[in-house]
């Protein structure tokens, strides 16, 4: 599993539950809380699973909920503005973004070679119905995507209803398998979209 994913879990835990909660998570997951994750280093997957399970215990939320909250945090969190911006490059409107979902793994790889995201397939039905199929080595990605979609719909000022995500599979939220998600687009001009410009704020040297 990519170091960035472990870093994201750490950032999520620190940001939403505080540094003490993160230290408890780290202790339960048997990792050194003071050792930074090397974002560009691919670590073994068991570390990620231990981290998620520990986060779920410390935050006292089921794993699917933790994963969905993680997805929301990636878009709307305090320290994750770059991720939100990179996602918004997917399209000018929320439907445009939905149509760019299939490109997401390719975009992620362009940004960070070595970051493997699951294959996503978008199906479009009548009356604003979409189905999103995720073929992942770890089912957890689907829950994360739920959170991302909810937060991004808000970001675009779009009212979209997400079907309840599938229940946690018997072998836990991290087992392999495909994941189907239904979404109904109600109103793309429901609220004011959060501002987005193609070029971010100028960076000081």
């Amino acid at each position: 599993m990519h170091g960035l994913i472990n870093r994201a879990i750490q950032g999520f835990a620190v940001d939403t539950a505080g540094p003490d909660a993160w230290r408890r998570v780290a202790r339960e997951a048997d990792i050194d809380p003071n050792q930074p994750f090397m974002p560009l280093m691919v670590r073994n997957t068991p570390v990620t699973h231990r981290l998620l399970e520990a986060t779920s215990r410390v935050l006292e939320k089921p794993a699917p909920v933790v994963l969905e909250d993680l997805g929301t945090w990636l878009v709307a969190g305090r320290g994750t503005a770059p991720i939100r911006r990179l996602l918004r490059f997917g399209g000018e409107t929320f439907p445009d973004f939905l149509h760019s979902l299939e490109d997401l793994p390719g975009r992620a790889r362009l940004a960070v070679s070595g970051l493997q995201l699951p294959t996503i397939r978008l199906g479009q039905g009548r009356d604003g119905r979409y189905t999103i199929a995720i073929d992942a080595p770890h089912g957890g990605y689907g829950y994360v995507l739920c959170g991302i979609l909810r937060a991004l719909a808000d970001d675009y000022g779009t009212l979209a209803l997400l079907d309840p995500p599938p229940e946690e599979p018997e072998d836990g939220a991290f087992g392999a398998g495909s994941f189907h998600l239904g979404l109904t687009l109600i109103d793309t001009t429901f609220a004011e979209a959060r501002a987005f410009s193609l070029v971010g704020p100028e960076r000081g040297e």
């Binding site: 090397m38 940004a111 193609l198 070029v199 971010g200």
Partner: protein, 336 residues
Amino acid sequence: MTASGQSDLRKARSAPPLGLAPEALERLMPMHLVVGADGTIEQAGRTMTRLRAGLAGQNLFEAFDLRRPAGACSVSDLVAGEGRLRLGFREFPRTAFKATAVPLPEGGGALVNLSFGISIVDAVRQYDLSAGDFAETDLAIEMLYLVEAKHAVMSDSERLTAQIYGAQQAAEEKAATDALTGLRNRRAFDSALQALVAGGRPFAVFQMDLDHFKAVNDTHGHAAGDDVLLRVAAILSGQIRTGDIAARLGGDEFCLLLPGTVDPGRLSALGETLIARIEEPIMAGGVTCHVSASIGVAVSRGTDADPASLLSRADAALYASKHAGRGRCTFAEEEG
């Protein structure tokens, strides 16, 4: 050509080239210009108009500075060869463009399709462009995405590099420090001595042992002994100058390295001061302790190539001090 013939031509031009509807040309090339034979911009794509209102009607060569082909001043210059152009606005902001010019089938004009090339990031910021300002097939958005991704990854790795560098500095500092006294340790002392010898400049070495220290340890315990060592370390630190090195090599054995100080008068004054300060009563673990120090001094004139022989001369001088009744400072014989 008659006057009426010319106006017919104009009319024909404002109907789009190649039989494309204007909206179709807009969608394919929002950054195009249709230029008449005399250089007048007859039509400008919506994104070009966004950059400069009122572009249509101006003369191309007045609005733009042609850098390639150099010295181009007529439409036929533009389409000569492959029609590869480099140009920029004459007025600020002087946005630079790459462009391709092709001759129009009739009338001697040209269709010019522009692109920002590498100036895209600045242009998007200056003109506040959005995705709709680019053709669907233009990779501009992907390019901006990559720029953004690069910044995100770079700033993350810069932060991490700083973190790792800080940790490395701390680890090196720790590895060079005597844990009890905070003076340099033997490892740091050895490498500083090596560096001084290699530097070939004169310097002095003080080799110092405490006298009666074992008695403090035996009578009052190790905690009191540690207090004495801390006090001695503070005295040494207080007497040396920036650039000098004070080290504890272990037990009650201390060393000073004094680059550039070789004058016997100054060295022996320093030795006397150190001994006098160390002989002052030391409060250690609730009791008053008395220790002294024996010192051996060796001077390198900058020609001693061997740290080991320098240290053994300092050591011999130290033993001479101890032999002569302790609490004193002895100079080693000069080499050679």
